[in-house]
């Protein structure tokens, strides 16, 4: 039997394959490093984020007590009953209490006023960690007298110093110190809601604790034996549930803070992953060119008796090895970069971060780098199997790649599954992971399609009458082994990523800005008591300001829902709907921001008649209620049965007092309530004077200035966008490295072409112009494709997610476009210098 002939059998010598892989790689070290350099930044970004996440988790675990400041915190949204208070008084070995609410403070010296979060504190809180102040002892002494600690940003805004006075409600407080950091507070939370501490014993005298004021009650406890907390909480849980009280322990704080940071780190990891994916496209493409150049060697080895899989394994070993080196270098760089992350994220970190090398993060990064570089190299590597030995005697005898190779399609599927699995690991649901993967895939496919379209179009559109330099420059875009596809994808995706971030930021700002445009209100006065209603309106008119809207607000709870659909829902859903307080209004006509979509709106009812309320559509869906369902409301202890009469569509983008539940007039008029007044002020001076006047005359009334909100939002978005831009920079830098790699990879081919042209009489300048035209067009097209993708994506987000129109500003787009084109041309031309400077004879001789 021929098949039994020993001449037909030869075992695979693995150690020789390693030796051959090394021999083949040693003369290509710099090229192989170039390939792998594309993934270094992606791995670095991921390892930096992984390390940061590990350090953060450890510090949260170690410092959770300082975040809560106590072993147990109990929170209530209303005063607790005497019975519950008696139970609360028995808890812990040491206790403190706090009441917090939003209120205006008024600086006596310069008459400035601002909405802050007032925290009235009693006791030795925090039991763990400190309230950081300047001077440091102010945190310990402010409770002894009528003194306050004022957030540093507010102090800076009003140029105030310790020793100055502020007025809160009807009481003046001496500023004892600048509040640098409250327990668990981050830079972001200080920006959104700056804190002012005052002693609790003076709260009553401020006059701000009237009915209707939205006060949060907190009780802090320290335990000599912290292990007793869980048992005690379990024991009193039924009572707490009944009263609607929440608890926070060190463990629950660890969990909630950890969860928040997992969300942040997931976002950062996904950003890093995008950079890594870009790099991998670069690696895949470079390996494709590399294997193409190895065609002769592989064919010769096959002639000498090398099996197809042995040839494949030689290059697989190389890729595994360089992938490993790249991943290790990336991990090392990432470990260094993690020390920069706290600077970037300083406004989001609630703990003192202690940075250490995370071997787990390094291990994860190296493994990921290894897997992904091999996965992306495999499609090109697999074609090694199909290189015929005939290529050694006849060039281009047959195509080395078979597009129908099932193994190759299996690898593409593996890549897709890997991206999906990785994103699932970062995100909380398969759906989110699928959407992310699909988005990336669609972006890739669009850019792929666009680059193909470009090559097709350039081939046909460039007129044969145009100058040779232009024709040659454009021809480079579609010649064999061109880099058009890879560069369009990598540069385009980076540009799309950056532009989308920029556009979304613009959409968010615009959404708020629009609400302040035209004749819409831009200032809200709330917490106006019944007896102040007319006086506040008069003061507003005295300042020649319009009273655009004045509505009553009543705090209610849902006691019971008798809904057809709700009955079928889980007990958890029903419980969620009846928990918490609702702020509702009553009115006889709907506002211009409201539109009835189902049922009939009845604005007035007679005493004793059936009460028909109107629900906002989204809220109705949330509580599973519809027209005709019955809801019993608890209004400060009084139960009011109602029927859902209508559903409304509400334009939340309008600066208007919008409510989820609206009662008709004739029901809630006598319920405890406060009022909200809206006006429009166009002058900053009038705004400042009016706010001062309101705070002076009605200290309990708070003012929301849309200008301040815009400023805060801008600050907030700037801080967030800085983080995003930091991560996006990895993608940009990776895109650039891929570009450099692509230019250097194709340099050999360019060199031969350039030498031929120069031999035929082309000048250096002409070669330079051809190169510049090619890269200019490549850069312009890639950047344009990326910007178009970003415009499309942002438009979809604006219309379907933010419910607003999308009109991008042109100048930044033009600037980014020009910058990308410039960088691409510069990189292309600089890296082609060798092509320009090599004497033709040197190449012809070789």
């Amino acid at each position: 039997m021929q098949q039994d002939n020993p001449a037909l059998k030869r075992s695979v010598n693995i150690s020789w394959l390693f030796k051959m892989a090394w021999r083949d790689a040693r003369r290509n070290k710099s090229r192989l490093f170039l390939f792998v350099s594309s993934i270094i930044l992606g791995i670095a970004a991921l390892v930096a984020v992984y390390s940061f996440r590990d350090n953060m988790q450890r510090d949260i675990d170690n410092q959770a007590k300082m975040l809560t400041g106590a072993d147990l915190t109990i929170q209530a949204r209303k005063p607790v009953s005497a019975k519950t208070q008696a139970v609360l008084d028995t808890l812990g070995n040491e206790k403190a209490s706090e009441r917090s609410f939003a209120s205006m403070i008024y600086f006596l010296k310069n008459q400035g006023s601002r909405l802050v979060q007032v925290r009235a504190l009693e006791g030795n809180y925090p039991f763990y960690g400190t309230i950081e102040t300047t001077p440091a002892n102010a945190a310990r002494t402010f409770q002894q007298e009528r003194r306050a600690l004022v957030d540093k940003t507010v102090m800076l805004q009003f140029n105030a110093k310790p020793g100055d006075s502020i007025k809160i409600g009807s009481l003046n407080f001496l500023i004892a110190g600048i509040l640098d950091k409250a327990p668990g507070q981050t830079g972001i939370s200080a920006t959104v809601a700056p804190v002012v501490y005052i002693p609790l014993k003076y709260l009553e005298q401020t006059g701000l604790t009237k009915i209707g004021s939205r006060i949060q009650y907190k009780y802090y406890y320290r335990y000599n034996k912290p292990s007793a907390v869980a048992t005690q909480v379990k024991k009193i849980q039924p009572l707490l549930d009944k009263e609607g009280l929440d608890t926070e322990t060190v463990e629950s704080k660890k969990e909630s803070t950890g969860k928040s940071f997992r969300d942040v780190s997931r976002f950062l990891e996904l950003s890093g992953f995008i950079a890594l994916l870009l790099g991998c496209i670069g690696v895949g493409s470079a390996i494709h060119v590399y294997i193409g150049e190895k065609l002769n060697s592989i064919a010769t080895l096959r002639c000498l008796g090398l099996k197809a899989w042995e040839a494949f394994l030689i290059y697989l070993i190389q890729i595994v090895f360089i992938g490993f080196i790249g991943a290790v270098l990336g991990a090392a760089l990432g470990t260094i970069i993690q020390f920069a992350l706290p600077m970037v994220l300083k406004d989001f970190i609630p703990v003192e971060l202690t940075l250490q090398i995370s071997w787990l993060a390094i291990g994860q990064g190296v493994l990921l780098g290894l897997i992904i570089s091999v996965l992306f190299a495999l499609p090109s590597l697999l074609s090694v199997r199909t290189i015929s030995p005939l290529n050694a005697i006849r060039h281009s005898f047959e195509k080395s790649t078979d597009p129908r190779d099932p193994l190759k399609w299996f690898v593409y599927l593996l890549i897709l599954l890997f991206v999906l699995a990785f994103t699932r690991f970062q995100m909380s649901s398969w759906m989110q992971a699928a959407v992310f993967t699909a988005s990336i895939l669609i972006a890739f496919l669009l850019l792929f399609g666009l680059s193909r379209l470009l090559m097709w179009a350039v081939k046909r559109v460039i007129p044969s009458s145009s100058s040779y330099l232009w024709r040659q420059g454009f021809a480079n875009l579609y010649r064999p082994n061109n880099q058009t596809l890879m560069l369009t994808v990598s540069i385009g995706l980076s540009a799309a990523f950056i532009c989308t971030l920029f556009f979304v930021q613009g959409i968010l700002i615009k959404r708020v800005t629009i609400s302040a445009e035209g004749n819409q209100a831009n200032m809200i006065l709330f917490d106006i008591q019944n007896e102040q209603k007319e006086a506040v309106a008069k003061l507003t008119r005295d300042y020649k300001l319009p009273v655009m809207n004045q509505v009553p607000v009543v705090t209610v709870r849902i006691e019971k829902i008798y809904a057809k659909k709700a009955l079928k829902d889980t007990a958890k859903d029903s419980k969620r709907a009846t928990q918490g307080e609702l702020r509702v209004t009553f009115q006889d006509t709907l506002t211009s921001a409201e539109k009835v979509t189902e049922g009939v709106w009845k604005g007035k009812i007679k005493p004793g008649a059936q009460v028909y309320v109107s629900l906002e559509e989204g809220y109705a869906k949330h509580i599973h209620a519809g027209v005709g369902d019955s809801i019993v409301f608890n209004v400060q202890g009084l139960l009011i049965p109602t029927v859902v009469g209508s559903l409304r569509e509400v334009n939340w983008a309008r600066m208007q007092t919008n409510f989820r539940v609206v009662f008709p007039t004739g029901v809630l008029e006598d319920a405890p309530q406060f009022h909200v007044l809206m006006t429009r002020i166009t002058s900053n001076d009038v705004s400042a004077n009016f706010q001062s006047a309101v705070v002076k005359e009605f200290p309990n009334v708070s003012v929301i200035d849309l200008g301040l909100i815009l400023k805060t939002l801008d600050e907030l978005l700037s801080k967030i966008s800085f983080v995003i831009q930091f991560m996006a920079a990895f993608s940009m830098a990776t895109g650039w490295i891929v570009l450099v790699s692509a230019v250097l990879t194709s340099r050999g081919q360019r060199l031969r072409e350039s030498v031929l042209l120069r031999t035929l009489g082309a000048s250096r300048k002409q070669i330079l112009v051809i190169t510049a035209i090619e890269y200019l067009f490549l850069g312009a097209f890639s950047a344009g494709a990326g910007i178009i993708l970003a415009l499309g994506g942002s438009w979809l987000l604006a219309v379907f997610s933010f419910d607003t129109s999308f009109t991008p500003s042109l100048l930044p787009i033009l600037l980014l476009f020009t910058l990308i084109c410039f960088l691409v041309v510069l990189t292309g031309v600089l890296n082609s210098r060798k092509v320009l400077n090599t004497p033709p004879l040197a190449v012809l001789n070789s």
Partner: protein, 231 residues
């Protein structure tokens, strides 16, 4: 001394399909080659010489017919089995040398032996380089060698696995006359010493005249198959 046939080609045709059309490159070719003999295959460009060489050496499959090398029917083998046959019985010399650019001269010569899993091959490889006069250049890379030197390394590599049959595809096609002469001399010397069967594909009639037998091929068909009367 000629012995039994080492290569037997029977009714071999090769047809390529391109753009829906069939192109017959070889048409019903028959011949046999005795072990230890030398044979030249000549013919104009596009006559099918290189295709025939590829089929004889097991680099490709014929469309019809059979190729038997050293008693093994190559058409019935998988590509990996044919690779094993090439490694064990065949040596190659190419027109453009086909040395691995990333391997030194010595390593290039060692490769066929390494593939067979042979041990202590360095001395044998150095001996071969010495025979072709390149012992001093053993650690040089192909790019550091002249064309003639590269072809000498290629010769050393071709003989390194003591092949039963050596296929040379235009071995002097890329060399000047003087270097060609040296390479031809060396090739025939090594062939004689090793007792290898030599099959040369060439345009060069002078080179062809140095073999025992000349097959002329044109349009994919053998037009003459004669012993070389001058030898």
């Amino acid at each position: 001394m000629p012995s039994e046939n080492i290569l037997h080609i029977e009714n071999v045709s090769k047809i390529y399909k391109s753009a829906g059309k069939e192109l017959t490159v070889l048409n019903n070719v028959n011949f046999s080659v005795e072990g230890g003999s030398t044979l030249a295959i000549t013919g104009p460009s596009g006559s099918g010489k290189t295709t025939l060489l590829g089929l004889c050496a097991g680099l490709d499959r014929s469309t019809t017919g059979s190729v038997k090398l050293n008693g093994i029917k190559l058409d019935e083998l998988t590509e990996d089995q044919r690779a094993a046959v090439r490694n064990r019985y065949i040596g190659f010399i190419f027109q453009n040398f086909q040395l691995m650019p990333t391997l030194t001269a010595l390593e290039n010569v060692m490769v066929p032996m390494e593939l067979r899993g042979e041990k202590d091959i360095r001395t044998h490889a150095m001996d071969l380089l010495d025979k072709v006069g390149l012992a001093e250049r053993s650690h040089h890379y192909p790019v550091q060698l002249s064309g003639g030197e590269q072809q000498r390394v290629s010769l050393a590599r071709a003989f390194s696995n003591k092949p039963a049959i050596l296929f040379a595809d235009e071995p002097t096609g890329n060399l000047d006359a003087e270097t060609s002469e040296k390479i031809e001399k060396l090739m025939f010397e090594l062939n004689r010493d090793a007792g290898t069967t030599l099959i040369i594909v060439t345009h060069d009639l002078e080179l062809a005249m140095r073999t025992n037998r000349i097959i002329k091929i044109k349009g994919g068909v053998i037009i003459s198959d004669n012993p070389n009367a001058t030898r």
